[in-house]
């Protein structure tokens, strides 16, 4: 175990009856790190969180927290801070009493509890609201109380279950940064479970992508987006335009040809160095550039001919759906930069660089 790993899972598996929920999961969270378990609902991420919290026991594998095997310890004997999606604030207690709950259970001195509670309320910027009840708070405020309550007992690991998904989109974006700031200010080692890729990418230092109980990829947000190792990851994180075909001969030390029914493209020569079968690649929507017909393309760009199907301006981004001659539709995203938006039905070309082609397993 690396010296700074606070939480480490080794080959953890869990099945319910005959249904495997979690299969051979291994990862570790370093001190002060924020790690996100990202996957669709039912992928096993919540089971992992519940195993760490002690509500579920793994069938196989080891679970270590702070270098100590925590298997068999009951929830109240583990030192984790839980924040649920529904916040689970105690409705019969005031904010102060909510935040103090964990300290009381640990038998801290009264003065120490009072000091810690006010410290936490300042940290989550709810000072002065201590005597309110949870029902009198907004969703965002409740979320911060839940956070303060969990952090008050200085847990070894914070476990956040879909921490922002109960909030509306606008508030969610705003609170992401706030949440990250609070967690970082307190140097919390944190595990976030979420199905929201933006939440994972904006909050976490590292992301573990899961599906069907298995880990698909583990890395930082950029690596997962730019170099997805599988088609599932490429499609789950962001959007992807796929091209199916066959690798052709090398045309230079760096480039090879890729032959599809929609044309020939140049792709990086090392495309096959990974576990890729080399039968398809994808291009992210923002890597496709729109070229009006007749305009010259840069040297070495891949080009594909199409017709604009429809355009949607989403504010900062403009989404274009472009139908190729083969009948397939690609998505192309451009920043809104005062450019002229072509009308639907316009014939145009899409350009992308060879390095924009992503080969996955």
């Amino acid at each position: 175990m690396p010296p700074s790993a606070v939480l480490e899972l080794n080959h953890v598996s869990k099945r319910y009856g005959n249904t495997p929920a979690v299969i051979d999961i291994s990862f570790s969270v370093q001190r002060g790190q924020i790690l996100a378990l990202l996957g669709p609902s039912g992928c096993g991420k919540t089971t992992i969180l519940r195993m760490i919290a002690g509500f579920v026991e793994p069938d196989e594998g080891t679970l270590e927290m702070g270098g100590r095997d925590i298997r068999g310890l009951r929830p109240h004997e583990r030192n984790v801070g839980l924040v649920f999606q529904d916040y689970a604030l105690f409705p019969h207690l005031t904010l102060e009493e909510n935040v103090a709950y964990g300290l009381r259970q640990r038998g801290s001195a009264k003065d120490a509890i009072g000091d810690r509670v006010s410290e936490m309320l300042v940290l989550v910027r709810l000072e002065g609201l201590g005597s309110r009840r949870p029902g009198e708070l907004s969703g965002g405020q409740q979320q911060r109380v839940a956070l303060a309550r969990a952090m008050a007992v200085t847990p070894e690991v914070m476990l956040l279950d879909e921490p922002l998904s109960a909030l509306d989109a606008k508030l969610r974006q705003q609170l992401r940064f706030e949440l990250k700031q609070i967690l970082q200010a307190a140097h919390c080692t944190t595990l976030i479970v979420t199905h929201d890729q933006e939440e994972a990418m904006s909050l976490a230092d590292e992301i573990v992508v899961m599906d069907h109980g298995r880990i698909l990829q583990h890395g930082n947000a950029r690596a997962i987006y730019d170099a997805p190792q599988s088609r599932t990851v490429a499609e789950f994180i962001g959007r992807a335009n796929w091209f199916e075909g066959k690798l052709g001969p090398a045309v230079s030390p760096e480039l090879r040809e890729f032959v599809t029914s929609e044309g020939r493209f140049f792709v990086p020569a090392n495309a096959l160095s990974q576990s890729s079968a080399g039968e398809s690649f994808c291009v992210r929507p923002e890597r496709l550039r729109i070229l009006a017909e007749g305009l010259p393309a840069d040297e070495g760009m891949n080009l594909v001919q199409g017709t604009l199907l429809h355009v949607a301006c989403l504010g900062s981004e403009i989404h274009h759906a472009v139908t190729l001659e083969s009948g397939r539709t690609l998505i192309c995203v451009e920043q809104n930069r005062d450019q002229t938006i072509p009308a639907a039905g316009t014939r145009l070309r899409l350009a992308f660089r060879p390095t924009d082609c992503i080969f996955t397993a």
Partner: protein, 292 residues
């Protein structure tokens, strides 16, 4: 209307059908209102009559309305040692029954809530079975059982019998209250360092206490009200007020019964108002209180 306009005859036909439907609806509504009014009269008229009888100054059951009013039957009740003895037993019994049935109901409800459905369902059926067994059968069965087992103390016999018949109500109200508590609350409490027992007393119980109180009040009222079971378990020295009233009905009928009935009605209404003020009656039977 624009889209329908091209086919006019069709529209007329539709209108005719709608008119017929409306008449049918009006008739149905009138029938429903009639049934409700009739049922309410059926329920309330005897009560109203009882109230009037309890203040009747006459010595016999005379025609309505009474020619003069008096409180003599109330005075008689409060000076009748036989009835007062029954009242004392009834109140003691109801209070103890409420405590015991609620404690048992709370424990049973907590267990039912935690067990997997395939165990909790049959257990629930067992716990609620006193509701479907007729009181007379239950009373007789208990009488035989106590005689066999050797329970001699009449008050104890009554208490056990009353706990048995009120316990299902306590379970139900407590279960409803527990069902309204999100499991995440208990999980959070545990992760904050509360042992399961501590989590129960600091989170579950405070949140369920209105349901628990409601269960206690139900148990109290049903215990106070019971005749069928009590009549088998009473003896000439230890008997409940309703049992005393029944035997009075047989021996020397007078309108004290009406006065007692009115007092019981008053007490019941008072307790129900208390319950409504505490929890809201709809919440006792309706959806959980703490789900948002």
């Amino acid at each position: 209307m624009d889209t329908v306009a091209p086919s006019r005859p069709h529209t007329d036909d539709l209108r005719k059908r709608q008119r017929r439907q409306r008449v049918a609806d009006d008739v149905a509504r009138a029938i429903v209102v009639g049934v409700i009014v009739f049922s309410m009269l059926l329920l309330l008229l005897p009560l109203a009559l009882t109230v009037s009888m309890s203040f009747d100054a006459r010595d016999y059951l005379g025609v309505f309305p009474p020619p003069a009013l008096s409180t003599r039957w109330y005075a008689k009740f409060f000076s009748d040692p036989y009835l007062l003895n029954g009242l004392k037993t009834s109140l003691q019994l109801a209070a103890l029954t409420a405590v015991a049935a609620t404690a048992l109901g709370l424990s049973a409800a907590v267990a039912l809530e935690r067990l997997p459905r395939r165990y909790s369902q049959p257990l629930m059926a067992v716990f609620l079975s006193p509701l479907v067994v007729p009181g007379v059968v239950l009373g007789f069965a208990l009488l035989i059982f106590y005689a066999r087992v050797g329970v001699e103390n009449t008050f104890l016999r009554l208490l056990a019998g009353h706990v048995l018949i009120t316990f299902p109500y306590a379970i139900r109200t407590v279960l409803a209250a527990l069902g309204g508590i999100r499991p995440s609350l208990i999980e959070v409490a545990q992760s904050l360092g509360a042992s399961p027992v501590k989590a129960f007393w600091t989170v579950t119980f405070p949140l369920a206490r209105t349901g628990v109180a409601a269960g206690a009040i139900f148990a109290f009222v049903f215990s106070l009200d019971d005749v069928a079971v009590s009549i088998f378990l009473s003896d000439p020295h230890r008997y409940t007020l309703p049992v005393a009233l029944v035997s009075m009905l047989h021996a020397n009928f007078d309108l004290t019964i009406a006065a007692v009935a009115v007092l019981i009605i008053g007490a019941s209404i008072g307790l129900m108002l208390l319950l409504d003020w505490m929890v809201g009656l709809d919440r006792v039977v309706g959806a959980g209180y703490y789900r948002t």
